[in-house]
């Protein structure tokens, strides 16, 4: 029974659960709904949930656990040294699965009988050729171990399919029967259904947290592997970044970190004042008509893909800055520069800051403004001394979001600031950032076993720590200066 078919059966049982439980509830009180504890629909949903949720959970668990169990069983087919190394082991079992799938395909197309597929040995003609004939291409000749393992794999998978069908169907039917038996006028179906909904809400929030934890852990393990190959002190304190895929690389974080912070700083200098002033104008001064036109227009910027901004940086801003600022004032003649990328990222971030800050300023109660105006303060004094301090925590959040985006921006930097890692104060010089180098270290035909590739994870980890630190700093600032209304 395929997974799809199982899902269909469970769905049918669940709908049956809804209908049956609802009918039984109505019948138990002779159609007088007021004698029921809950509305009839709740009894129906209770039946639906009991018929579906346990069965689906069991199915999901089975699908996760079965490959692990099979792999462990099959390890016995191979000599210990072949399955010791994790990456070789992964490749080996990929082979086993491919051969097993090939045998399945061969049987399905009639090129082999079922018996043949189970009995065939490597000496009885080339298995590779026979599988190639049915459209399954294998990279190398099939070894006896792999073939035997693949045959065992098919056997176990067949048992697994039957087992999971039986288990889930039993659970589904059992849940259905239990729900029908529980249904009665005194049964608190409404409360039970709400408990399930609560569980769903908790599960959703947990998934978000677990994903983050998972990302951090995977980066952490790879970073640790990097530090076993490359000294941590060099990574953190070396002032040169020159990776060399033949070895002898110098992988210093400092130039990349400097580029990242420099570009982010310039972008924040552009986006924070402009965004904030635009927000103040929109929230406090603009008439409704102006606001309804200007706000969507500003937000259009947010919808432009960053690669388009990159083009803008490459063909417009970069040459403009070079021809009118850098060359006349003797700052060099580089088309791509920190200034270019910083300004363009700043423009990218204006709508983020202005839109968020606008909402936050609007959320400050009118009574605060009235109080200030009633004391003879001007509108501008009111905004400076009452509205903005009250909106500070939210504005801080908006600024921080923009900072994180600036630090994480890749495309605009690649096209606007270039890819040369450099430690320089001149903002009209090409530099590069951590994110750009992560991409360039991982693109192309690479294996994750040299310091030159694994450094990407260490870079990613550093980036994560920086943004985390920024968040903590912002939280601290907000707590210190917060002026909370109501």
């Amino acid at each position: 029974m395929s997974v799809f078919l199982l899902l269909v059966v469970i769905a049918v049982l669940s709908v049956a659960g809804y209908v049956l439980c609802r009918q039984r509830a109505l019948k138990s009180v002779d159609g007088n709904i007021r004698r029921l504890h809950s509305l009839p629909g709740y009894y129906g949903w209770f039946g639906f949930i009991l018929a579906s949720v346990p069965a689906l959970l069991a199915l999901a668990l089975w699908l996760i656990i079965q490959p692990i169990v099979i792999e462990r069983q099959l390890s016995g087919f191979f000599p210990a040294e072949m399955v010791e190394d994790p990456s070789a082991r992964t490749l080996l079992f990929a082979d086993v699965r491919r051969v097993a799938a090939g045998l399945d395909a061969a049987v399905a197309q009639g090129a082999m009988t079922e018996d043949e597929a189970e009995q065939v040995r490597t000496d009885a003609g080339s298995v590779r050729d026979r599988l190639a004939a049915v459209g399954v291409a294998l990279g190398a000749e099939v070894t006896p171990e792999v073939l035997a393992a693949a045959q065992e794999y098919r056997e176990m998978a067949r048992v697994g399919v039957i087992g999971r069908a039986i288990l889930t169907l039993i659970l589904s039917v059992a849940g259905l029967v239990f729900a029908i038996r529980a249904t009665g006028p005194d049964f608190r179906a409404r409360n039970r259904v709400e408990q399930v909904v609560l569980a769903l809400l908790i599960l959703s929030s947990t998934i978000a947290i677990l994903t983050t934890v998972g990302i951090v852990l995977s980066m952490l393990t790879e970073s640790l592997r990097f530090f076993t190959m490359y000294p941590a002190a060099d990574f953190f304190f070396n002032l040169t970044w020159s990776p060399n895929f033949r070895g002898n690389s110098e992988l210093g974080l400092i130039p990349l970190l400097w580029g990242t912070l420099y570009i982010s700083l310039i972008s924040m200098l552009v986006s924070v004042p402009i965004g904030l002033f635009a927000a103040i104008y929109l929230a406090e001064y603009a008439s409704n008509r102006v606001r309804s036109v200007v706000k969507p227009l500003i937000e259009v910027i947010a919808g432009i893909p960053t690669v388009v901004f990159g083009l803008f940086a490459l063909v417009t801003v970069g040459p403009f800055l070079r021809d009118y600022f850098a060359q006349p004032f003797g700052f060099g003649n580089s088309g791509s520069s920190v200034m270019t990328a910083g300004i363009v990222i700043g423009i990218l971030n204006i709508p983020f800051i202005s839109s968020l800050a606008d909402d936050i300023i609007n959320a400050v109660p009118q009574s605060m403004r009235d109080g200030s105006l009633g004391l003879g303060a001007t509108k501008s004094e009111t905004i400076k001394k009452v509205v903005l301090p009250a909106a500070l925590p939210g504005i801080m959040g908006a600024v921080l979001m923009a900072a994180s985006r600036a630090i994480g921006e890749t495309m605009i930097v690649t096209m606007g600031a270039g890819a040369a890692a450099r430690l320089d104060l001149n903002p009209f010089e090409a530099m590069t950032t951590i994110t750009v180098k992560i991409v360039s270290q991982l693109t192309g035909d690479t294996e994750f076993n040299s310091p030159e590739t694994l450094v990407a994870f260490a870079l990613g980890m550093s980036l994560f720590v920086i943004t985390l630190g920024l968040n903590i700093l912002a939280l601290w600032i907000v707590r210190k200066y917060r002026e909370q209304y109501e």
């Binding site: 109080g371 105006l373 004391l375 003879g376 009250a390 209304y485």
Partner: protein
């Protein structure tokens, strides 16, 4: 208009602070206030009473041009503050509001410290030359608002952390810190419990010796307790204006009588 000032008994010594004549207010197409004539005397508490939506708050907000902040609002007629038309082009509403302070229905202390709340007005108007003078104003205002004893040890605590009654007295202290000539109060006790209300009413009576106070209230008992003059508004009209005692014991207009005896409103 001025003859009205002298009509009252024993009030001949008191001068008119604000005199309004023929005031009309429109909110868009809604005619909210129709042809109102009122004279506010110096050092007197004047109460505006009337059912909800009768225009009494609207009129109050005309007196310091807070209605300017409402886009759809149009005011016509004449309102004189010490003989000067406050809707004249030359008058800066910001400076007017420093002279005519306002306390709102819901306590609205700024989310700042108690000290900063009171010091807000004096600071923006540059009323002090140094910290000591500012301290003195803050203390004097809090004392006048009968709040000094309760907060003198925690002036750095946030104003929003006070109780409702304390918050409203803080707002009053904030309003009188700029030494206004008139204090407008828009239902200042409607969000307060009876004890806090009694404190604020006592305070209003104290303030009468220095300012002229205009209070909008829903409570007729409150109007009778704190005011010397009462104006009754109904459906945007000023129905009756006179001595508080006369309004409550001997109303001339049948609508006033109906309202104070509880038949309309």
């Amino acid at each position: 208009m001025n003859d009205m000032t002298h009509k009252g008994l024993g009030l001949a010594t008191q001068t008119a602070k604000i005199s309004a004549s023929g005031v009309q207010v429109h909110y868009g197409t809604n005619h909210a206030l129709k042809d109102v004539d009122v004279t506010i005397l110096d050092r007197t508490v004047t109460a505006f009473i009337g059912p909800s939506g009768c225009g009494k708050s609207t009129f109050l907000r005309c007196l310091n041009r807070m209605n300017d902040t409402v886009a759809s609002c149009r005011v016509s007629g004449q309102i004189l503050l010490e003989g000067e038309d406050i809707y004249d082009r030359r008058v800066d509403p910001v400076q007017l509001r420093a002279k005519v302070g306002m306390v709102f229905q819901k306590p609205n202390p700024f989310p700042k410290s108690i000290y900063d709340n009171v010091a807000y007005g004096p600071k923006i108007h540059g009323m002090t030359r140094n910290k000591a003078e500012l301290d003195a104003i803050v203390e004097a205002s809090l004392r006048k608002a009968a709040l000094w004893g309760e907060v003198k040890d925690r002036l750095d605590a946030t104003g929003t952390g006070l109780s409702g009654g304390q918050q409203q007295r803080l707002c009053i202290a904030r309003a009188i810190a700029t030494s206004p000539e008139v204090l407008l109060m828009d239902e200042p006790c409607s969000a307060l419990d009876p004890i806090a209300t009694a404190q604020v009413e006592e305070l209003i009576d104290e303030l009468r010796h220095q300012f002229s106070v205009v209070i909008v209230t829903h409570s007729m008992q409150q109007a009778a307790r704190v005011s010397q003059k009462t104006a009754f508004f109904h459906l945007g009209n000023l129905v009756e204006f006179g001595e508080t005692g006369d309004i409550f014991t001997n109303p001339k207009d049948p609508r006033t009588e109906a309202y104070i005896t509880g038949r309309i409103g």
